[in-house]
């Protein structure tokens, strides 16, 4: 089934999602190559989160989603993570009544290599020492930034080939946002492929190899991150310039 090595890691073709009578995605197509950071930017309600939900399988979608060449559509959400697809969901979605440590363990739920899991938890703690300090604390008591760090680490616990991040900057102080983007770039340098959904277009475009602009369920523009950053339309609509 697997395609040749130069085919994209993730390929989305003509993606359509309906929420009842609302046509949320109207045929979105894009791809992510191995080793890239790709971002989807757009206004609130444009369909960015829906796109991620369709990829991870928690929103019903029509169209074609291929990951490593394999068609994902018939595979239920809970069987997609073991294929190498992990998501840090909208609103962080930490298990509030569980400790930080248990949240990380949940991220490795489908794995059974106990020793390696412990190593990965240690790695999360190195990445964000704040999480180590709070390992035993209920994650619902963490600050927003800490919860975001936890959500990213929890996704990494799956040792994914593709990391899906939904609005990692939402509601966070600029300093924390910068720190989180630094980590994302760092992960990418170590070989992680990242698909990022962001309203913070400036931060996202600066950090991405390529980006797609989504408006009312359609891809209206695509290009290199740097090019979009300098594009007049993008500047006017999303960068407030």
């Amino acid at each position: 089934m697997s395609n040749s090595s130069n085919s994209p890691l993730l390929e989305v073709k003509n993606l359509n999602v309906f929420y009842g009578s609302i046509h949320a995605l109207k045929g979105i197509s894009f791809h992510v190559n191995k080793g890239e950071v790709v971002s989807l930017i757009g206004a609130n309600g444009a369909g960015k989160t829906t796109t991620l939900r369709a990829i991870s399988g928690i929103a019903e979608a029509q169209g074609e989603i291929r990951f490593k060449g394999n068609l994902l559509n018939p595979i239920p959400a809970h069987d997609r993570v073991s294929l190498g697809l992990a998501q840090s969901p909208e609103g962080r979605g930490v298990f509030a009544q569980m400790s930080v440590y248990e949240n990380l363990e949940m991220g490795a739920y489908f794995r059974s290599d106990r020793a390696e899991i412990l190593k990965d938890i240690e790695m999360s703690f190195q990445l964000f020492p704040r999480l180590k300090e709070r390992a035993k604390q209920l994650s619902g008591t963490l600050s927003g930034g800490e919860q975001q760090m936890l959500a990213i680490c929890r996704a990494l616990m799956a040792r994914p080939d593709l990391l899906l991040l939904d609005e990692p900057s939402l509601g966070l102080a600029p300093k924390i946002v910068a720190q989180i983007f630094e980590i994302i770039l760092d992960l990418n340098k170590k070989g992680m492929t990242v698909l990022l959904v962001e309203q913070n277009a400036k931060m996202a475009l600066k950090s991405s190899h390529r980006a797609y602009v989504i408006e009312t369920g359609l891809v209206t523009m695509e290009g290199r991150g740097q090019d979009l950053l300098n594009d007049d339309n993008v500047r006017r609509s999303y960068l407030g310039a």
């Binding site: 991870s56 399988g57 928690i58 239920p76 959400a77 809970h78 069987d79 993570v81 073991s82 992990a86 998501q87 969901p89 609103g91 979605g93 298990f95 509030a96 009544q97 569980m98 248990e102 363990e105 949940m106 991220g107 739920y109 489908f110 619902g140 008591t141 929890r154 799956a158």
Partner: protein, 304 residues
Amino acid sequence: MNSPGQDFIQHLINGISLGSIYALIALGYTMVYGILQLINFAHSDVYMVGAFAAYFAAKLLGLNNSPGIATLAILLIASMVACSVLGLAIERFAYRPLRKAPKLNILITAIGVSLLLQFSCQIFFGADPKVFPNVIEDGVLTEVFGVPLKMNDVSVLAVTLVAMLSLHFLIYHTKLGRAMRAVSQNRTVASLMGVNPDRIISFTFIVGSSLAGIGSVLVGMKYPKIDPLMGLMIGMKAFVAAVLGGIGNIMGAVLGGLLMGLSEQMVVGYLSSTYRDALAFGILIVILIFKPSGLLGKGGVEKV
């Protein structure tokens, strides 16, 4: 003649014994609520079926009059297996098809399943009470401050203690338990981690129903008459216990159950048994006025 102190200890023992049975059944309500936000009204009838399963198992195996630990163990297993299968089937065929339907639809279905069980059991088993087998020789084991400690009460306490400790271990110290908690906190996110929510929900019904099965054998030991409507009152009280403790909260169910059992026995001992049932609901009303989310229920809003 007993001294007032001895009377009190006697009521205390009775209350804890009854309360731990309420707690066992309350756990089933609270676990299912925690994971599906559904009041499983059929739970009390699963409990009733458990009592009949033990009754027929004893009949079939000729254990009607051979009390002992082995008989207790066999009847417990028979009842737990029957309840698990029934609970699993109810979830699979009545609730799962409605997973995406409004909550009210599932609630009405639960009431329907409850009635279906009550009345089909009346058809199959007859409406008259049946005598539950003699499970444990109810002798006096020892005396505590001059109060006889009966074998039945000790067995009830031992069995519930083992059941609750096992449950605690399962939920807080195993991977499966972690997945159960994850699904109850956020089903969608849990599925992103690779947890199959349907499988976890099924498992929750198995555990909750087994506990009801244990409860039914213990009740059969204490009050050896069973009939198809026996789940009504005890189910209602266990449900009240779950709400009292904070529905969805495991420790709350245990606390609520003990509180209900103790206060009921105290009322019987010091006031009049006429008021025993009124009291249960009185307590509920009073506690919910002052703490609407129950004693250990989540107060306040969760941070987002």
